[in-house]
Symmetry: C2
Subunit: 282 residues, 2 copies
Amino acid sequence: MTLVLSPSEIALRAQAACLLEVAAAKPGNVSRFRDFGDTSFEDFLLSAVAIGAALGAAGATGVGETVLTAVRDTRRWVSANTNLGIVLLLAPLARAAADGGAPLRGRLSRVLAGLTVADARAVYAAIRLAAPGGLGHADAQDVRGEPTVTLREAMGLAAGRDTIAREYVTDYEVTFGLAVPALRRARGSGFGWSAATLESYLSVLAEVPDTFIARKRGQEAARAVSDRAREVLAAGEPRSPERARAVDAFDSELREDANRLNPGTTADLVAAALFVVLGEER
Amino acid sequence: MTLVLSPSEIALRAQAACLLEVAAAKPGNVSRFRDFGDTSFEDFLLSAVAIGAALGAAGATGVGETVLTAVRDTRRWVSANTNLGIVLLLAPLARAAADGGAPLRGRLSRVLAGLTVADARAVYAAIRLAAPGGLGHADAQDVRGEPTVTLREAMGLAAGRDTIAREYVTDYEVTFGLAVPALRRARGSGFGWSAATLESYLSVLAEVPDTFIARKRGQEAARAVSDRAREVLAAGEPRSPERARAVDAFDSELREDANRLNPGTTADLVAAALFVVLGEER
């Protein structure tokens, strides 16, 4: 993926990444087979297409404006927050895909290094608009105020409690180090998008406790979910009956408690990986 | 919907119409809960986003080129025909939405009246590329040759065996006369997109024998399916347990015979109606 992409190709890839992520049957999360609390699967479909124009324009408008426009465009169609985390991860990737030159991660690194205070201001506005809840209070640079640092610096302050924020200061370590390789491996083995997405999701969850769960239920709960993801991966080869049973059992456990154990951050990271790998396959 | 729409708004609406149509649980057809023969639900998601750029550009490029580009763009992502019928219906609507002036159906009427031989040539190329199978042989203006009549005249020759072709010569009589009113009624009663789509689908099927079924199984089979759709509608109010049971039973009957009784044309007409009604709601 070293080619420069047109806005409509970037838009399409961002939309497709969101759709494939949300459709895949992932333990504890929304999927084609599972509505989710107060948001339906159809809300996620509409959210996925709604962000196309904003992400397609990322090369011209920059990261902060891309995030804010995408969240605003989503709100025209869907009343709940469905995609803030995904948009935060996709905006720098879309901007990088629109640039020419080095491999994608190198371009991404330059995009992240160039983030400004204005980017932070636009992202703070987007976060207030999306009102995700449960972001936690910050001692410094709280999203209820106006930031005085760059977006990357602001993300650095939140890196300990949010893997998405951490991606901004590690040049997407989890995305490129775990989610993308797992997705590539599965696609290389002939897996369909849904099965490949599940492999990537379990691989990330097994290694990185989900910070969405940690914020709602504590670090201990998040670590226990990751322990279970490792057991599921060890239960059998992908597509074996043993693995399928383990995935089903894991899904039931996570849903027991009114969906409060949903690995939402992990799903966002897999959507970012889908954006990358979709670009490599065509 | 008397406003002139931007390309990105038209793209988004066309994509959303396809996604909401395919996601809805419709007896005998693909849905979020049902893969379909050799095509997965995920193939339909990718197809829905793939057509965005082509449909968004309909105001500049015209109907024939829009159809051909949309089919080509779909083929980059999905190897089977997933959306030829929908694209044939959406292209004139997208072109009309990009024009200013009269209400949408009036604008559509002008678009259809202005179709050319070049439009026919491009659509024939699209049909050969999509290779839907079962289009039937025509004595005149067969799609294997090059047309010498306008697209509207060519559609007129096929109107007896294909409701989509008939829409081109009746200014979308089924779409605006049956599918749109049913969808508006359901939305007005507070139905979600999926439930409203089902109501529109059953209302069209009850009145208009599905020509996709007729081509594969004969007129008698298509009429019998419409008889059953009327019985399902009469079984109880929407969202009542009686109606839900009748819908489930209908679905099982249609799937019994290797999906050869799938009302594919009806689904396409509902997608066109979704494009219209999505425009009225925002």
